[in-house]
Symmetry: C2
């Protein structure tokens, strides 16, 4: 296996070469992909589709393109029907990562036992992309881009938005009164704002739906709290606990 890479930032390429993450670095995307069997796009979700189309023009017959973007419909549909013959794109989203970024945070076991969602494609392309992810230790599940985006709006995009909203309203004088609860609940707020702006924007409709669902649930809490209905309050807390407890061993 030989790994070529390109990045908009020369320092990142230099760092990746020095750590042995890349075998060769390129300043130009089309040059980087010219000999590739597989190309993986790890860029913001509002850049991926244009880069896929730009790279595809320079790819040889049989090259498989995929990505790691947190949204799928905007990417898959922008690429659909526009690739040269013999070049295939399959959307991927590995449910792994952290609020950190850059080659200095690279980990060989990042995808171990994690789920990777891939979008529908013809059998050969699907099995090639699945083989790539399973070789890195992941499990693979195929799902339509739309279903993926609806689910991830609730399981990932809304938690980011929420963590950020909660952190954003903390007055400076109360920072010393936070403990591990506040820190865990707001951990995602430390993520890259530009990256998450494009994710939330690209999945606008489903994130707004998820925000409405949460708004309804917060309204139930508010009603229970303001009316002093402790039975309802406890039932709502119990509902959350049941779900959270069910996630422990999955």
């Amino acid at each position: 296996v030989r790994i070529d890479g390109t990045d908009s930032c020369p320092d990142v390429l230099q760092h990746a070469l020095e750590r042995g993450i890349l075998d060769a670095a390129h300043a130009d995307l089309q040059q980087a992909v010219a000999d590739a069997d597989l190309v993986v796009f790890c860029t913001p979700v509002d850049c991926i589709a244009a880069q896929v189309l730009g790279a595809a023009a320079a790819c040889r017959w049989g090259t498989l393109l995929t990505d790691v973007g947190s949204t799928k419909a905007n990417i898959v549909h922008a690429v659909e029907g526009k690739l040269p013959p013999g070049v295939v794109f399959v959307g991927s989203h590995p449910l792994a990562g952290s609020e950190k970024h850059g080659p200095e945070h690279a980990r060989a076991d990042l995808f171990k036992d994690r789920l990777v969602v891939v979008t529908p494609a013809e059998d050969e392309a699907l099995s090639r992309v699945a083989a790539f992810w399973t070789a890195l230790g992941a499990r693979v599940e195929t799902m339509s881009a739309e279903e993926h985006d609806r689910a991830l709006a609730l399981t990932s995009h809304l938690p980011h938005l929420l963590a950020s909203a909660l952190a954003g309203i903390l007055p400076p004088q109360w920072r010393g009164l936070t403990a591990s609860g506040f820190r865990d609940t707001t951990r995602l707020a430390a993520a890259n704002p530009a990256l998450w702006t494009s994710i939330l924007h690209a999945n606008q409709e489903s994130v707004l739906d998820a925000l409405d669902r949460l708004g309804d649930q917060l309204h139930r809490f508010r009603q229970a709290l303001s009316s002093g209905d402790t039975n309802l309050l406890e039932a709502l807390l119990y509902q959350g606990k049941q779900v959270r407890d069910s996630l422990r061993n999955e």
Copy 2:
């Protein structure tokens, strides 16, 4: 030092004796406190005041009473002016703990480097209660019960409510699509529902205020998202990141 304890559940007392956490166990509260220099109430916030008053009647002159409740105004005001002469109550709230409970999760370093908020009292009682907490490794800060409750509504009670609301709206078929982001943001939802019902209820007014502040911020996110105002969206995410990053090293 000799540590006597009482609990409504005999199994808990048995377990605490076996692990050497207690020197003696009592079925009766008044019996347990009869010889005490210091009594620490670790019970739900809606039980503490009545237990303090019940215990105080059996205490000898000079006994200092404190608690670890997550709300302070409801407790401090219910006790105020009702204690027998020579018995003093100072409210405490150590900002430490987890969603786990019971003597099997006891840790000697639980309070190390943590903040304990104590409510105003006369100098001698304050310095005795502060000496107790600092001996366990904590830092101590005095704050009015009202200010404590307003701050903790935002830094602790709202995060619990929010974690629970988010966990509660996850449909079963999407549980497999959660990753560490969802799990961290909802960790607090695993806490004891009965315990948190009494905390939220006891601090009703401030929690409703905090919920309103969050509602306003979520409304800003919604406006930015639905109007496609990516500059505003990024500014809101950046605001959250700045606060979150400032908590790292505190």
